[in-house]
Symmetry: C2
Subunit: 214 residues, 2 copies
DNA sequence: CGGGCGTTTGAAACCCCTCAAGGAAGGTGG
DNA sequence: CCACCTTCCTTGAGGGGTTTCAAACGCCCG
């Protein structure tokens, strides 16, 4: 934890605070570099997390070295929960300078027990995660490669951009998209060019996408 | 709701009960036939559910008619949550006579707010669901067909059977397995016969599997 | 006994992956 | 400022796994 700062600038150690609506007071803010681990598979989960700015990927590595990304997290998303003591995945920062609020598990669980508003916030965060994961399962197991890329773009636009806007600055590489969609990078590329040639999207550089026809 | 009975046999209408550790008192027990809907996609979610006995599948239907099963739920599992007002999937009973405890949403949310033990139970249920879904994503997007079937069998044995036992009575058809794993029934069949011919499993009829080598 | 459902096997077509190579963009050191 | 490197992106050709289409078998039940 090379850099850490507090939400409110008060005292430096995480303070167990059970008072309602005081989520920020138990948080430690940490800044992560690109590709830096926030937590790793099989490690103890003593913290819960919430993204302040930037983005993260939740992933696992297969024995053959292939990587599967299960979820992309954006500002406001909670992550790091587990029903057991160990994490089932790893999480890394995607963009440079991603800021994450870290909550000591005992403290935030105590806060959730005493403050219904906090408990509800966490509940809604987990419900949203479940819906994203179900959508993800739906995408990777029923759709063809071009359909997956198209679904990814539409879904990501809805999450990251203001509604109505069709311009989209992707924070992630083709490799990330491939590992998220269960495809190879080459197939993702071909899907992008296909969509462009069909007039469904337009590209200004590889990372700036405009969705023309959903 | 053709048949309904109470957990504890007390009065007949769902009673809003905020007292701690009183989850059962707000539950209505319902019994479902095989393939009967428990709730449907896009419908309002006014209830949360927990399986008492039997099994359910959570699924969506594509526009081309294909079905994707996102999760299989077994006794003790909570389901039916949503961060919005409408369900993102449908849920059906798989086995005849599946019994589900149904909790009015307002009542169980109020209970969760007032009773930390209930809130924790729900939290752990959702965390377990998240881990199952992540595992599911991992399986369907990185594994070959035989690997998926093998992973399904091992995972299902761990969930349904006593640990150590290798005998497994599948409550679901090849079609269900195919829609869960994102494969065609034919491919699932071929994977089963492959595993049998290699001596990894033995079959006594299509639905009774013994895992010999995981 | 016939019908329907679930299961199994076979052959051909297709989609995606792998392997290979080239191009574009950004950072670093000379 | 340019050469060089690394990383990311893109395109092409061949091979393999899965789907699709087709058909047959066993089984339960009316």
């Amino acid at each position: 934890m090379e850099r850490s700062s507090r939400f409110d600038g008060s005292d430096c150690e995480p303070r167990i605070n059970k008072s309602p609506k005081d989520l920020n007071s138990i948080a430690i803010l940490r800044t992560f570099q690109r590709d830096q681990d926030i937590f790793e598979h099989y490690h103890r989960c003593d913290w819960w997390y919430r993204i302040v700015s930037g983005a993260t990927r939740k992933y696992r590595i297969r024995s053959d070295g292939r990587r599967q990304i299960a979820d992309i997290n954006l500002p406001g998303d909670f992550f790091g929960f587990s029903s057991s003591d160990a994490h089932a995945s790893s999480v890394q920062a995607i963009v440079e300078g991603t800021i994450v609020a870290c909550y000591p598990r005992a403290a935030i669980e105590a806060l959730a027990d005493s403050d219904p508003a906090t408990a509800k916030l966490i509940r809604l965060g987990t419900f949203a995660a479940i819906e994203r994961l179900e959508q993800q399962i739906f995408v990777v197991s029923t759709m063809s490669a071009p359909e997956r890329v198209r679904a990814f773009l539409v879904h990501f636009r809805d999450r990251i951009g203001r509604s109505g806007e069709s311009d989209l600055a992707l924070p992630i590489t083709r490799y990330d998209i491939a590992d998220l969609l269960g495809l190879s990078t080459e197939t993702v590329c071909r899907a992008f060019t296909d969509l462009r040639e069909r007039g469904a999207i337009s590209l200004e550089g590889p990372r700036n996408v405009t969705i023309i026809r959903p």
